[in-house]
Structure formats: C-alpha cells, structure tokens
C-alpha cells in the first residue's frame, strides 16, 4: 500500500547558486575531523591519542554510558590533534589521511543473521551513530527497539544535494539495507520519496510519496503526517546516504565513508558536486571556489537554514551533506532598510516587492532586525506542516515547563523542523536554539 501525503504548509526559499547534478569531482581532503557535538546524546570518551595510526573504521570515540556507541575514523591516517576546549570539553579529533592508502579499512563483521548481529554490525561499523531517534533527536540508544524507522530520500532545504541522483544503480544495496533495518524493528521501514522517484523499486519498505515545499524532506515532517510519535514511542530516522552506507556494508562488507557534497551558494564561483570523505576540511573543499570580492563570507556546513557556520578552518559536519557559502553581511550599510522597496530583499511578506518576483535571491547572514517578543501571530504556523502549535510550544520551552512541552508535542519535533519558523520570524527569535536547549533539558530531567 503506497502512502501519499500532500503538504500545503512550508516554504521553498529560492537562493542563487544551486549545483547542477553532474559527475562529482573527487577531492581527497587534507584533513578530516570528527566533532562529537554533531552526535547529540553522546558523552565522548576518547580512544586514541595524537600520533596514533588509524584505519578507516577505527573507533575514535565511544560513549560513556553506552560504550558500544562509537564514532569511527572515516579514513586511514594519523591522528593529528585531539582538540579540547574550555573545561577540557572534547571539540574535535583531526585525522590526516594517509597519502597512499587512505581507504585501508579495519576488519568488518560478517553479514548479520538476526537482530543481535545486525545491531552489532551497525554499532561496530560506526554507522549506528549516523541515525537519529525521536524523541529528542539524539543518537539511538543501543538495545532499544524502535516503533518504526523512517528514511527520507530527499533533502528539500535550499540548494540541497540531490541524493537520489547518485543512487540510481544502487537498488540492491538499498534493499539490503532495508532488510537489515527490518531486523531491528517490529514496525515498518518507511521511505519518504518525491513523486516520480525511482526508489519505489526498493523492496521491503513502505514508500511514502511526499509532495509540497520544504520542510517536506525532513523525516520529522514525514513521521508527523504518516504516523506521529506518541509519548513513549521511539522512532529512528536516517537519510538516504546513510541507508546506502548500511546497504554497502551489508551487501559488500565494505565501509563507505565517501560523501557526495554540492558546493552551493551565491558566493561560490561555480557550484558543483564533489566526492569527498565524511568530516572533510573546508580548506580543501572550497579552495579557489569562493569569489574574491573582498566581502566577508560565511562558509556553512549544511544548508542556510540549519547549517553550522564553520569558516574556512572548519570541517564538513555531520549530518550535513552540503556546503553553502553566502555573504556575511556585517559590512553592509543599509540605510532605512525597514522602508526599503528594493526588489533584492527576500521576504515572505507581501510588503516587499521581492515577494512577487520569481527570481533567486542572494541573502546574507544578517538577522535584519532586532530581537523582540512574539508580536505577530500565526507566522510560524504557515511554514510548519505538523499538528503542533509552535508558538505555544516555544513558550513552554522558554518556561521550561515539562508537562506543557509534552502536552504540546515536543516528542514529535526536533530543531530542524522549526528552521523555517525561525527564518520567517519578524521577531528574530532563536527558535532552533530554544527548542534544542529545551530538548536537552528534558532529556536530562527525564532520563
């Protein structure tokens, strides 16, 4: 039985600098880094020290509470640095890939035959930490059994990578991955696809056809419209590249840490796809790619809505599969900006002429206003296709009112689902941060 959902709420932000789908350019990074902050729910314990030789798949970090949860090295090489910040918080582990044989991999477990070995395989290969669970948007806890597993096969964020374009000949692998995941849940494996997708050929999964604007590609939105998360439910989510990695591991016993990334955004000279490694350094990725126009640039690992500004010294962060470069905008002088009728201004408000133009914009990183209390009402609702009242949920989050958060559906949502709300908010509130902190707080209080 095929499920089809049609979302009306949401918003496709039209930004210049999309990468046309083409053969990706291979780029071996000069360095790779693993950042534990990218794996929420993990308390990192370091397994390596500076100077150690590692192979692709060597565990670098394990979790304090669940030692089975491990983050592995994406490449073979040498540990260059274990960087710690304030109060010795682990910030990142940097690996320099081996010049000759960066692909050398540790010995991998055999093909799984039951739930236990399947779990073992994902944990040992480090693929487990690439999945997320709802509630809380954290790495799934080992030993839990999810109600269902949701896989989103497309990213609907601005300028996002077209994942499906690179898996057209991988149906067998994807089917193998679905088979493996099926061992881990008594429920269904759902794959959210765009209408007309070829992924309908993947066997064993429930295909959910999703039409409508962003955030249609967010797994959370698909869950909410297919089978919402209730209190007590656990649902796992993953994206298509992760599913493919699981399939490759399951079918060919190969650990794949390749990642196909589009370099996008207004400030990229020639947007294109590159083939690189998980955790690749930005210095390699954007080298000679950015306009040298003297403007300040913001180099984002991820898309403009949820991505992290990492700068040129930063790294490609999990779980993002995209690099966006936009202008920072802190050097722009915008006289009487609130009165502007310039068609260059991007807005969902009909008070800007730009709203009516069907063109692509070049926004910068300014918040374009001052932070205020929530004044206009109903702004968030228009871009959140879930049965959730975002204003009230946010207020409950700010008040740290756990009962209210639960009643208003916090289990169903993660920060990325609120990204568009944050974008359109005329009061410029940091909604993703507010929700993220509330989720952390809730997890600490209830677990």
């Amino acid at each position: 039985m095929a499920i089809s959902i049609n979302l009306r709420k949401g918003l496709d932000i039209n930004i210049r600098g999309a990468a046309p789908v083409s053969q990706p350019l291979p780029l071996m990074p000069a360095r790779c880094a693993i950042v534990p902050d990218d794996y929420p729910g993990i308390t990192p314990k370091v397994d390596v020290k500076e100077g150690d030789k590692v192979l692709a798949g060597t565990p670098l970090i394990h979790d304090k509470q669940f030692p089975d949860l491990r983050i592995v090295s994406p490449v073979a090489g040498t540990i260059e640095a274990v960087v710690r910040g304030e109060r010795r918080k682990l910030e990142r582990i940097v690996i320099v890939p081996d010049a000759e044989n960066a692909e050398a991999t540790v010995e991998l477990p055999a093909k799984p035959t039951d739930a236990t070995t399947a779990q073992r395989m994902l944990l040992d290969s480090g693929l487990w930490v690439q999945m997320r669970q709802r509630p809380y948007g954290i790495v799934p806890r080992p030993g839990t059994e999810p109600r269902d597993i949701f896989i989103t096969s497309f990213d609907s964020a601005p300028l996002a990578a077209d994942w499906e374009a690179f898996v057209s000949d991988k149906t067998e692998e994807l089917t193998a991955a679905v088979e493996l995941l099926k061992r881990l849940t008594p429920g269904n494996i759902y794959i959210g696809v765009r209408p007309g997708s070829k992924l309908t050929g993947v066997k064993g999964a429930e295909i959910v056809t999703v039409s409508g604007p962003h955030p249609a590609g967010n797994a959370g939105i698909q869950i909410a419209n297919v089978k919402p998360v209730n209190k007590g439910d656990i649902v796992w989510t993953l994206d298509l590249p992760t599913l493919l990695r699981i399939g490759v591991l399951s079918l060919h016993s190969k650990l794949c840490s390749d990642i196909i990334v589009p370099l996008t955004g207004c400030e990229i000279k020639e947007p294109k796809y590159v083939l690189t490694k998980i955790g690749a350094d930005m210095a390699t990725l954007v080298k000679d790619q950015i306009y040298g126009d003297g403007a300040h640039h913001r180099i984002i690992s991820g898309n403009v809505l949820t991505g992290i500004p990492v700068g040129k010294e930063g790294y490609l962060r999990a779980p993002y599969t995209q690099v966006t470069v936009i202008a920072e905008g802190d050097d722009v002088s915008d006289f009487l900006g609130w009165a502007s009728m310039s068609p260059q201004k991007m807005s969902v408000s009909r008070s800007f002429p730009g709203h009516f133009l069907k063109k692509a914009f070049c926004p910068d990183a300014r918040i374009l206003g001052g932070r205020r209390a929530m004044i206009l009402s109903g702004v968030y609702d228009k871009v959140l296709p879930m049965d959730i009242m975002p204003e009230y949920l946010i207020k409950a989050c700010i008040a740290r009112d756990l009962d209210r958060m639960e009643q208003l559906g916090i289990y169903e949502i993660v920060p990325e689902d609120l990204a568009l709300c944050e974008y359109v908010d005329p009061s410029k509130l940091e909604l993703q941060k507010i929700l993220g902190e509330a989720l952390d707080y809730m997890y600490k209080e209830l677990n």
Binding site: D330, D334, L336, S340, L368, G369, I375, Q407, L408, V424
Partner: protein, 406 residues
C-alpha cells in the same frame, strides 16, 4: 544621496563610543541605538540556527500600520475643518483652508502623545538596558485619532502616560501587554473625564486657530455625533442629522463628513487602511472579517426587534457598522496581534464576539454609545481564554491518539 548617507554612517560611527558603557553619554545608549537601527539596518548576523532571515522586522510591521492609518489621519484633518466651517454657517469650503485648520488642531496632539509615549519608552528601555521597541509608533498615532478633537492636550498626556506605564511597561513592554494601549488611553479619558469625552461640545472644534476659521456658531447648532443623537433620542421616527440639522445620508456616513472622533468617521478611509493591512498581510483577515460579520449579524438582530426603549435598534445593520468607531475598531484595534487571540480558530471567535458585543453595548446600554472600545477591551481580556480552549483542543487530539493506540 549616497554621499550624505555615507557621511551620516561615518558620523554615527564616530559618536557611537560616547554612548557605549563608559562613554560620556552612556545614559542615552538605548536612545542612540534606537536612532541608529532606525537609520541603518543593524549589521548583527545570526549566531545560531538559521543563517539567513526574512527581511520583515517589527519596524516595518509597525510602519505599515502607521501607513495604513495615514488616510484616516488626512481625512480627519479635513473633517475637523469641514465640521468647523459647517458650524460657523459657511457655504463655501476651501480645501486647503480646511486642511490647514485641521492640521493645526491635530498636530500638537500628535506631538504630545508621541513625546510622552516615546519618552516613557526611551526611559524604560534605557533602564532595562534593552533596545527601544517600536510598538508605540502605532499607539502614538492611534491615540489622537480615536479621541474627540476637543480633548485638552494635558488630558491626552496624562492618559497616554497612564496607559504606556500601567498597561504596557509593567507587563514587560511591547508584545507582553494584555490590553490595547491606545484603547486603554481612550477608556481612561472616557471614564476619568466623561464630561469632556461626550456630549455636544467634544467632537467639533469651534475656536479659530491662527486666524483660520473665524466666525460665530450658527443658531440651531448641535455638535452631537450620530450615535450621540441616537443615545438621547426619544420618539419613534429616528432621523440622523449633521450639526446644523440637515439629514445625513448613507453616503455622508460612509465618506465620513459627520462629527465624531478624529480618525474614525470615514469608513472609506478605514477601508483603504484595511486594504493596505490585508494586502501586505500584516493584519489578520480572520479577525477583521469576523468582527464585521459579528457586528452586522447583531445589527440585523437588533434591528429586527426594533423598540423605542432602545433607539439604537432603529439603526439598520449597515448603519451600525458604518457609524461610530465600529469600523475603525474592527480594522485597527481588534487586529492588534498582541492583544487579540493568537490561534487561527481563536481569531474567528474573538473577532465575532468583538463585533457582537460592540453592537450589544451600543444598542442596549444608552450610557455607552461607543460600544466598540469596550467590546475590544473586554475581548482583550478574553483572548487568552479563547486561545486556551483552542490549544486544549490540540492537546486533547494528541492525547486521544495516544489512548487509541494503547
């Protein structure tokens, strides 16, 4: 132009350090910040979450509302002059003379309300070390527009100060208030100085200003607003008249050449404002529509049960929504997003009840011909309750889903 802007930017950058902590003028930090962000969009970039933001900010939101009020303000000026010249028995009405007279009457009221209101906002912002918030930009123009033209300026100042402090600032500033600031100002005046807020003297400027509009008030003059006439009417055949006794047509009432509070006589100009607010999507069409629907429906009901005990029942539903402050309240007051219901379903209920209650108060309580003001204030206090019910609906739906699974 660009050189002037650049010079201005340079000048601001030069004097900025004086306003920062440690600087000579640091007591005016918020004021400086207010002016700086007014002149130049702040260059703050996002620190977390979204890397880009929509261009709409609260400054633009407020300015659009002010813009939508301009037709009412301009017409109000003209009408002040028109009513004056009508009262002194003039036969000819010179447009610019009327406008100039009206301008003189309203100008100082605007200046004083803005000075008092913004002054308090500036002080509070500095005290709290916050940015200045824009809410009063709208309240400051609304207040003179909803008061009778003869309101003494000192009363406006007192009422504005009361309202800004006790209705807004004590609750935390723009966005946190329960009641509409401008309407509380009006209500304060209405209850504190009732003799100056109603009756025949309040709504028409009779004195000459700067040599403009010299003349004696004609015999048989009455300055009562149409609703004032209704409230004091005894008999069974109601005819509304203007201040010199000529009967009023629908057209007069729609255009707004009738006595009344400055900005709210012209339904036409209010509709122009409504178009601006709805076209830009700043005000909620749900609220506006349902206020008119509620008022019209209640007007129909009241008119269907016409009785001489309550003379306002003799007004047709259409007259009910064109007269007095009803349309103004529907477009500019009920739609204040902070004090109205915030959920979509809630907005329909809220708006509808504003409309119904406005007409009920106006019709069945002769003491308060201006029901719209009281209706909006009453519903301001009910809006959180309405929203509560809507939110409970969402919560119950979630709970049912959970229970049906178990």
């Amino acid at each position: 132009m660009t050189t002037i802007v650049k010079a201005l930017r340079k000048y601001l950058d030069r004097i900025k350090p004086q306003f920062q902590p440690g600087g000579r003028l640091h007591a005016f930090e918020s004021v400086f910040d207010g002016f700086e962000t007014f002149l130049f969009t702040p260059t703050t970039t996002s620190r977390s979450g979204c890397n880009i933001h929509d261009s709409l900010d609260s400054k633009r939101v407020m300015i659009i509302v002010v813009l939508a009020l301009i037709p009412c303000l301009l017409f109000g000026m003209y009408n002040i002059g028109y009513q004056h010249w009508l009262a002194i028995g003039s036969e000819s009405f010179h447009f610019w003379e009327l406008m100039a007279y009206g301008f003189c009457q309203i100008f100082w009221k605007l200046v004083v309300t803005y000075a008092v209101g913004l002054g308090i906002e500036f002080i509070v912002a500095q005290w709290r070390h916050e940015e200045i918030q824009e809410g009063f930009l709208v309240s400051g123009i609304l207040i003179p527009l909803i008061c009778p033209v003869e309101t003494p300026i000192w009363m406006l100042a007192v009422a504005t100060a009361f309202s800004v402090i006790f209705v807004k600032e004590v609750f935390g500033g723009t966005g946190y208030n329960i009641f509409n600031v401008a309407l509380v100002t009006r209500a304060f005046l209405f209850f504190a100085y009732p003799s100056r807020m109603s009756g025949d003297e309040a709504f028409i400027a009779l004195k000459s200003t700067l040599g403009l509009g010299e003349g004696q008030v004609v015999d048989g003059f009455t300055g009562a607003t149409p609703l004032g006439q209704v409230a004091t009417f005894v008999g069974d055949k109601l005819t509304l008249t203007n201040s010199v006794g000529d009967p009023l047509t629908y057209w007069d009432m729609f255009i707004g050449l009738i006595p009344g509070s400055v900005g709210e006589t012209s339904t036409l100009c209010i509709l122009i404002g409504a178009v601006i607010l709805l076209a830009t999507g700043i005000a909620s069409w749900r609220i506006m529509l349902s206020v008119f629907a509620g008022g019209f429906l209640m007007g129909l009901i009241a008119h269907a049960f016409e009785t001489t005990t309550y003379p306002a029942t003799m007004l047709t539903a259409l007259e009910q929504i064109t007269l007095g402050g009803f349309a103004f309240a529907a477009v500019f007051m009920a739609t204040d997003p902070v004090t109205a219901a915030r959920t979509n379903t809630g907005k329909y209920v809220y708006g509808f009840l504003v409309g119904v209650i406005a007409i009920i108060i106006r019709t069945y309580n002769n003491g308060y011909p201006e029901g719209a003001m009281l209706a909006v204030l009453l519903m301001n206090s009910m809006a959180p309750l309405i929203d509560y019910c809507v939110v409970e609906g969402n919560i119950r739906r979630r709970l049912r889903r959970l229970n049906s699974k178990a």
